[in-house]
C-alpha cells in the first residue's frame, strides 16, 4: 500500500528525517512513536505531500509518487496535530470546504459529510459553530474532515493529544471504526497504551532515524511492554526540542 524509501529532509543544519524506509500493507494500522523532535511530524508532512523530501521517495499502491503531487494528495487523508478547522464556521461549512477541495460537490459531498459526522458522533451538531465545540469535539471533527474524499491512507498526527479521557476514548473508537472499515492508518502518538490497543505494528523514530519496526506483540515480548521498548531504544534523557 505505502512504501517509503530512503526519505530525508533537512531544515537548515538539522536533519529532521534521515533516510527512513518502511512499508505499510493495505488495511494495516501502524504507530509512529518517538520523543519530541524525533521527526514524526516531518515524516507525516513528507508522506502527505505538504513538504518536499530532499531525497528518497514515496510509493502508493506500487506507483512511485512525486512529493507534493496532487495524485498523492488525493489518496491521502491528513489529520494534523492542531485541529485544522475554521472556528468561526459551522461543522457543516468546514466539511463543505474540505470536501470541495477534493472535488466533491452537491449530493456526493452531502452524503460523505453526513457519513463522516455520523462516524465521529457529531451529526446532531452539524450547524453549530466550531468555536462552541469542546477540544475533543474539534479533534473528532478534524478526523471527519480527512475522511470525506475516502482516502486509501490516513495519516493521523497525535489525534488524541490534550483531550479529556472521555473524548480520547471517543476518538479512539472512531479510529477503531476506521480500522474495521479497512482503512490504512499511520498514527503518531505519545500514548503507549493507545499504540498497544490499536496498532498492528510500531515504528520507533528518534533523531530522524527508525530504531524499531516490528509488531506490537514482538516488541512487548522483547521488552516486556511497549513503554519499556520505547525508553530503552530512545533513552531517558529529556527532549525539550519542538516537535518535528
Amino acid at each position: 500500500m505505502l512504501e517509503v524509501e530512503q526519505l530525508s529532509k533537512r531544515y537548515g543544519d538539522r536533519l529532521a528525517v534521515n533516510a527512513i524506509s518502511f512499508t505499510i500493507a493495505a488495511g494495516e494500522t501502524v504507530g509512529l512513536l518517538g520523543p519530541n523532535g524525533a521527526g514524526k511530524t516531518t515524516a507525516i508532512a513528507l508522506i502527505s505531500g505538504i513538504a518536499r523530501a530532499d531525497s528518497g521517495h514515496v510509493s502508493l499502491g506500487g506507483v512511485r509518487v512525486r512529493q507534493g503531487a496532487n495524485e498523492l494528495k488525493r489518496r491521502v487523508g491528513l489529520v494534523p496535530q492542531d485541529p485544522a478547522l475554521y472556528d468561526e464556521l459551522s461543522a457543516w461549512a468546514n466539511l463543505q470546504l474540505f470536501g470541495g477541495l477534493y472535488g466533491l460537490r452537491a449530493d456526493a459531498l452531502r452524503a460523505r459529510a453526513e457519513d463522516a459526522l455520523a462516524l465521529v458522533g457529531l451529526a446532531g451538531r452539524r450547524h453549530e459553530r466550531v468555536k462552541t465545540f469542546s477540544g475533543g469535539m474539534k479533534r473528532r471533527l478534524n478526523i471527519a474532515g480527512a475522511l470525506l474524499h475516502d482516502p486509501d491512507l490516513m495519516l493521523l498526527d497525535e489525534p488524541t493529544v490534550g483531550v479529556d479521557p472521555q473524548s480520547r476514548n471517543a476518538i479512539f473508537e472512531n479510529l477503531e471504526a476506521l480500522k474495521r472499515r479497512g482503512k490504512t492508518l499511520l498514527y503518531t502518538t505519545h500514548y503507549m497504551e493507545e499504540a498497544e490497543r490499536l496498532c498492528d505494528r510500531v515504528l520507533i523514530l528518534d533523531r530522524g532515524q527508525i530504531l524499531a519496526n516490528d509488531s506490537v506483540a514482538n516488541l512487548v515480548r522483547q521488552y516486556r511492554n511497549l513503554e519499556g521498548a520505547f525508553m530503552q531504544l530512545t533513552g531517558r534523557a529529556l527532549r525539550d526540542g519542538a516537535d518535528t
Binding site: Q81, D82, E88, L89, G100, L101, G103, L104
Partner: protein
C-alpha cells in the same frame, strides 16, 4: 483547474467575511457615515446658503451715513453673516474662532474716505482682524468690503453732505494753487459735481420722505453669473458623490488589508496544513483568494453606493460601463494588494499597522478625503502616482461629472496595471510548499 476547490475556497472566504460582523460594520456602515459627514461639509446635495455663510463682525466707530450703508450692504450679502460688535467683543470673538474676521471702521471714516476719493490724501485705515485659520474667508471679506466701500463712498461723494463738504474743501485747495489749464478743468468738473449734488439733494429731500435711495454712485460695471459645470445644466453638484467615492476606496482598501492579514493568520493555523495537503496548486489557491476578495470588495462597494444613491441622491450621470469598470478594476487591485501584503508581511499586527499607514497615505494623497484640486501643484502631480487618485477620479467622472466611458479607460488601465504589479510580487513571494 480544480474549479470545485476554487469555488469551495471562495464560498468559505465569503462565509468568513459575513460571520465577522465587525468587518461588515467597519467595511460598510462606517464609510457611509464618514462619507455622509464629508459630503455634508462639502455642500451636500445642493447649496445650503445659511450653513455656508462666512461669519464676520463689523465694528462701526464712525456711525456715519457711509459706514452704516456699507454695514447694511455687507449684511445683505448672501455670502456673509454679519454681527455688529464693539472692538473688544469683536477681537474676542475672532480669537475664539466664532467670527472669521472683523472689520473696524475708525471714527471719521466716512468723511476721510469721501475726501480721499477726490484728493487721494489721508486715506483712513480699516482694520481687518482675521482668524489666521480662516484665511480664505478673510480674502472673500476683503474683496466684498472693497466693493461695497467704493459703492457707498462714491454715492456719498456725489450725493451726500460729506461729499459736498469734500468738494468745497478741494475747490478751496485748488483756488490756492497757481492758475493752470488743468486747474481750470478740474475746478469746472468739481463745480459740475457740486451742482449735481445740490440738485440731487433738493430732489432727494422729497424722495427721502417717500423712502427712496441715496442716489447714484460708482459700482462694479458687470455682474458675475456662476454656473456649476456638472453632468447636466439641471444637475447641481452633489458633494456626497465625491465623499462616497473617497470613503468607498479607503474602506475597501482596509478590507483588502483584512484579507491579507487573514491569509497571514491562516498560515499560522492548523488549517494551513489541511489546505496544503489538498490537491490544490499554488495558482488555484491564489486565484481563489483573489476572486473571493474581489467579490467581497464588490459587495461592499455595492452596499456603499446603494446607500449613496438611495439616501444621498448620488447618481451615475455619466457612463454606467465606466462606473462598473472602475469599480471592478479597483476591487481587483484591492484583492491583489491584500495578497501582496500576505506574502510580504511576517506577523499579522505589524503587517496590519504598516498596511494601514500606507493605505491612509495613499487615500490622503489620492484625494479621497478632500478633492485633489485643493492640493499644491506638486502634490497634485505626485498624487497621479497613487492608484487611489485614479479610482476616485474614475468614480467622480462616472458620477457627478457625467463623463463618457472614454474618460474611465485610463483609470481602469492604471488600476488593472497596478493590480497586475501587486499580483506579480505576490506570486513571486508566495511560498506554498516547504
Amino acid at each position: 483547474m480544480n474549479g470545485t476547490a476554487i469555488l469551495a475556497l471562495i464560498r468559505t472566504d465569503i462565509r468568513l467575511y459575513l460571520t465577522d460582523r465587525r468587518a461588515v460594520v467597519v467595511g460598510v456602515l462606517v464609510p457611509i457615515l464618514i462619507a455622509a459627514f464629508f459630503g455634508y461639509v462639502f455642500g451636500g446635495t445642493g447649496r445650503n446658503e445659511e450653513s455656508g455663510k462666512i461669519p464676520i463682525a463689523v465694528v462701526d466707530e464712525d456711525r456715519s451715513t457711509v459706514t452704516r450703508a456699507i454695514t447694511a450692504d455687507l449684511a445683505a450679502d448672501k455670502l456673509l453673516q454679519v454681527t455688529a460688535l464693539d472692538r473688544a467683543a469683536a477681537h474676542e470673538q475672532v480669537k475664539a474662532g466664532r467670527q472669521n474676521a472683523a472689520a473696524v471702521f475708525p471714527k471719521g471714516f466716512g468723511e476721510q474716505t469721501t475726501r480721499a476719493l477726490f484728493d487721494g490724501r489721508d486715506k483712513p485705515q480699516v482694520e481687518l482682524l482675521v482668524d489666521p485659520s480662516q484665511s480664505t474667508g478673510a480674502r472673500v471679506i476683503e474683496g466684498l468690503l472693497a466693493q461695497y466701500a467704493m459703492q457707498e463712498v462714491s454715492k456719498e461723494a456725489f450725493n451726500g453732505a460729506l461729499g459736498r463738504k469734500a468738494i468745497d474743501g478741494y475747490l478751496a485747495d485748488l483756488d490756492r494753487e497757481p492758475s493752470t489749464r488743468t486747474r481750470a478743468d478740474l475746478t469746472a468738473l468739481l463745480r459740475s459735481a457740486r451742482k449735481l449734488s445740490d440738485a440731487r439733494d433738493t430732489a432727494t429731500q422729497g424722495e427721502s420722505a417717500s423712502g427712496a435711495g441715496r442716489g447714484f454712485g460708482l459700482s462694479i460695471p458687470y455682474t458675475v453669473a456662476p454656473m456649476e459645470v456638472t453632468a447636466r445644466a439641471s444637475a447641481p453638484y452633489n458633494g456626497y458623490a465625491h465623499s462616497f467615492a473617497g470613503m468607498a476606496v479607503q474602506f475597501i482598501l482596509f478590507a483588502g488589508i483584512d484579507a491579507g492579514v487573514l491569509l497571514l493568520l491562516t498560515r499560522q493555523r492548523g488549517i494551513w496544513l489541511r489546505l496544503r495537503s489538498a490537491p490544490l496548486t499554488r495558482s488555484e489557491f491564489m486565484l481563489a483568494r483573489a476572486l473571493a476578495t474581489t467579490l467581497i470588495s464588490l459587495f461592499q462597494f455595492t452596499l456603499i453606493y446603494l446607500a449613496a444613491a438611495v439616501v444621498f441622491k448620488v447618481r451615475i450621470e455619466g457612463s454606467w460601463t465606466g462606473f462598473i469598470g472602475v469599480a471592478i478594476a479597483f476591487c481587483l487591485l484591492n484583492a491583489a494588494f491584500g495578497l501582496m501584503l500576505a506574502t510580504l508581511g511576517r506577523s499579522a499586527p505589524t503587517t496590519r499597522g504598516f498596511a494601514s499607514m500606507a493605505t491612509l497615505l495613499l487615500v490622503m494623497v489620492g484625494g479621497a478625503w478632500v478633492p485633489a484640486f485643493v492640493f499644491p501643484r506638486w502634490l497634485q502631480a505626485a498624487s497621479l502616482y497613487s492608484p487611489t487618485r485614479w479610482a476616485v477620479d474614475g468614480l467622480d467622472g462616472a458620477t457627478w461629472r457625467g463623463l463618457p466611458f472614454s474618460s474611465a479607460v485610463l483609470p481602469i488601465i492604471v488600476l488593472v496595471g497596478t493590480a497586475a504589479a501587486c499580483l506579480t510580487v505576490a506570486l513571486w513571494r508566495f511560498r506554498w510548499e516547504e
